[in-house]
């Protein structure tokens, strides 16, 4: 009200009485864009970064909030040595300068992978990890790419060797003693692999004690990386400032943090376009899996997504129930109540966060779309699907939605180098 009044006064004084009609009209319209019902305010609050809450406890990783583990994890995250060609680190596909994802449709480590790199912003708030949720913790997620031929392309024995050679002291301070893993006692390329008979044979020929030693270091490496990746968090965006203005109601005296068009887009986002069906909560994701009917280009053996991941996560030696987990089995809620009907999840992929989404094209699990506009067009084309129904949106409305999505952009913070010595 006050805002309107101010604008009205300003306009009348500034532009003489000639323009009285125009600002008052303009005002009524502008007011309307920024007036929200109490129910809409509940939804706005639920999307607000202020509702995010503290980082969720990962009961399977007792080092997850250990600052020294996070500092070590940061180094490991950027370490090129963990790769078959000494050139690939986690940061290759999760670029710090690109919101911890990359700009490729399909990520490229040692070779081209079948999927796009996931954004890591606020990833610790997820229930499941990877596009298909084939791990149930951030630390077990971090270990997957290391042994994937297309990504880092090395083994857990090589990883243990690199840790023992280059990160020995830091490791010891956090996790305790570790063997040398020298080449004469430990094979350099051994892992329980299904896609590499030589590495598998080498793994099987090791003694149970050696395998346990390697696994322990490998797991701790994952836990350190997870402790770092947890610190990758979004800062408040214009949208978050806007919600604060709306909720505090002092709003009307200030300039609104969203333009009228962005606010109209927001109204569509939580209303007619039904985006919050899946993109809900402060991270704009429900962390669940949905089939959009969208295959990767040139995908010959159809990517079944979540369907195949269910048995993978249940059988993983690195899951929450496993012996490398620090959790009491009662704490493994997601795994305990996992929905096991594969047919429900064929071709389903995880809802990604929308924070800073317009800053980091391309989009979808295999980078099928180069622009946000294409994504919105795609969803509009799916209007008849009950789950994806986004109603009949006009071109103008797609533009408004796009404008709103820009307001979700904000810098990303993560644990920085200097914190290491804390």
């Amino acid at each position: 009200m006050q805002n309107c009044f101010n604008r009205f006064i300003g306009a009348t004084i500034g532009l003489l009485f000639l323009l009285i009609g125009i600002p008052s009209q303009d005002c009524a319209w502008a007011m309307d864009q920024h007036t929200w019902t109490s129910q809409e305010k509940v939804v706005l609050r639920s999307l607000w970064l202020g509702s995010l809450g503290p980082l969720p406890v990962d009961p399977s990783n007792k080092y997850s909030d250990n600052a020294r583990a996070a500092a070590l994890g940061r180094k490991l995250f950027f370490e090129d040595k963990f790769s078959g060609n000494q050139k690939v680190s986690c940061a290759t596909c999760h670029r710090e300068d690109y919101f911890f994802t990359d700009n490729l449709p399909l990520s490229h480590g040692m070779a081209t992978t079948p999927r796009r790199s996931m954004p890591l912003i606020g990833v610790a708030y997820n229930s499941w990890f990877f596009w298909d949720g084939r791990t149930d913790s951030l630390w077990s997620q971090a270990l997957g790419p290391i042994e994937n031929k297309l990504e880092h392309g090395i083994s857990r024995t090589m990883s243990a060797y690199i840790i023992s050679k280059y990160y020995r002291e830091e490791y010891k301070e956090i996790f305790g003693e570790l063997p040398d893993f020298m080449e004469d006692a430990f094979p350099q390329h051994a892992r329980p692999a299904h896609d590499d008979p030589d590495a598998l044979k080498a793994w099987v020929l090791m003694t149970p004690e050696q395998r346990a030693d390697v696994n322990r270091v490998y797991v701790n490496m994952g836990k350190a990386i997870a402790a770092f990746v947890r610190t990758i968090l979004p800062q408040p965006s214009p949208f978050d400032h806007y919600v604060e203005q709306i909720l505090s109601e002092e709003s009307m005296t200030n300039r609104m943090a969203l333009t009228d068009d962005e606010a109209r887009g927001l109204r569509l986002f939580i209303g007619k376009a039904k985006c919050t069906n899946c993109h809900n909560g402060p991270m704009f994701t429900n962390s669940d899996f949905h089939n959009l009917g969208l295959q990767a280009k040139n995908d010959k053996k159809k990517d079944t997504g979540r369907a195949d991941a269910i048995t993978q996560v249940l059988s993983s030696e690195f899951n929450c129930f496993g012996k490398y987990s620090d959790a009491n089995p009662d704490e493994c809620l997601e795994l305990r109540f996992i929905e096991t009907s594969e047919e429900k999840y064929v071709g389903a992929f995880k809802t990604p966060t929308l924070r800073s989404v317009t800053e980091r094209p391309p989009y979808m699990h295999a980078g099928q779309f180069a622009t946000i506009r294409e994504v919105l067009e795609f969803y509009r084309s799916k209007a008849s699907n009950p789950e994806l129904g986004h109603d009949k949106l006009t071109d103008e409305e797609l533009g408004l939605l796009e404008a709103f999505l820009h307001s979700l952009s904000s810098p990303v913070t993560s644990l920085q180098e200097e914190v290491r010595n804390r």
């Binding site: 007619k272 069906n277 809900n280 669940d288 109540f337 096991t340 429900k344 084309s381």
Partner: protein, 286 residues
């Protein structure tokens, strides 16, 4: 893009195809009844009923839906069994099975068939647990002659909610009661979420209290829980587990999780001495 659309169009026609080989869709009753009548000389009792010949041409079935459309939830239908040569069939054994062909599953609740005389059978407790493509498989047996027909319903919707908007309040006649009688009044069921109001995307637990019609606690029931989102045709992202507390008719459901805001229906089925019965609770998850 175009290719994708094409795939979807093709899929759309293929999916209902498995159960509806005769090409008879519930949506076009007039066309198909005329056609059948020319063949089988059966006089329909109701104008707006659906008819269907059984697979081996023994019977012609007339299906009447008093509410016009099947909907998600509990339905009642009537079936008139005619001889394929004309004349009503009394004293037949009828069994009706709801089936979701695309999902490959039916429902736990068994429809209850009662003969009303003159070849008319009423079928109660036809529970369709979600929206989407359903079939009713009707088996008729009399004097060792058994035959089956399948009625196809390509698009079962939630009651009056076809164009509901996100966060729009559900229809006004929907109640959010947390204490209700089961469909056939066998049990009274009350639920509450443990540890405060239900929040989206959080795994949480419920406490149930089950009593029989006289208010006596039921401690040894087999209780199952199904959650569904009528507007979207999908269920919970978890598989909850139910435990009896073995006292005061109390049960605990662990592993409840709602991953989308809006209208949810949670159906609790109770199997105990009082028989098999179920109750559906409406929830508005924010």
């Amino acid at each position: 893009m175009k290719k994708l659309m094409l795939v979807f169009v093709v899929l759309f026609f293929l999916l209902p195809g498995c159960g509806a080989k005769e090409g008879e869709m519930a949506g076009q009753p007039h066309e198909m009844t005329e056609h059948e009548h020319a063949d089988v000389k059966v006089t329909k009792h109701f104008d707006d009923s659906l008819t269907k010949l059984t697979d081996n041409n023994l019977y012609s079935l007339e299906l009447v839906i008093p509410d016009k459309h099947l909907k998600m939830g509990v339905n009642t239908v009537e079936i008139i069994v005619h001889h394929s040569t004309g004349g009503d069939v009394a004293e037949a054994e009828l069994s009706v099975t709801p089936w979701m062909p695309s999902m490959g599953h039916g429902v736990m609740q068994k429809p209850v068939v009662m003969e009303r005389g003159g070849g008319l059978y009423s079928v109660e407790n036809v529970v369709l647990s979600m929206t989407g493509h359903w079939q009713l498989q009707v088996k008729v047996a009399k004097n060792n002659k058994e035959d089956t027909a399948v009625f196809d319903f390509p698009e079962v919707k939630a009651m009056g909610h076809e164009h509901a908007m996100m966060h729009a309040p559900p229809p006004q006649d929907i109640d959010y009661a947390t204490e209700k009688m089961t469909a056939n009044n066998s049990y009274k069921v009350m639920y509450q979420s443990i540890g405060g109001p239900i929040r989206i995307n959080r795994i949480h637990s419920w406490e149930l209290k089950v009593t029989d019609a006289d208010g006596k606690p039921v401690n040894d029931a087999k209780v199952t829980v199904v959650g569904d989102m009528p507007e979207h045709g999908h269920g919970l992202p978890t598989q909850p587990e139910v435990f009896t507390m073995a006292a005061d008719g109390l049960y605990r459901i662990d592993g409840m999780k709602f991953q989308m805001p809006g209208w949810w229906v949670v159906t609790i089925s109770i199997m105990a001495e009082g028989g098999h019965d179920s109750v559906s609770f409406n929830l508005n998850v924010l």
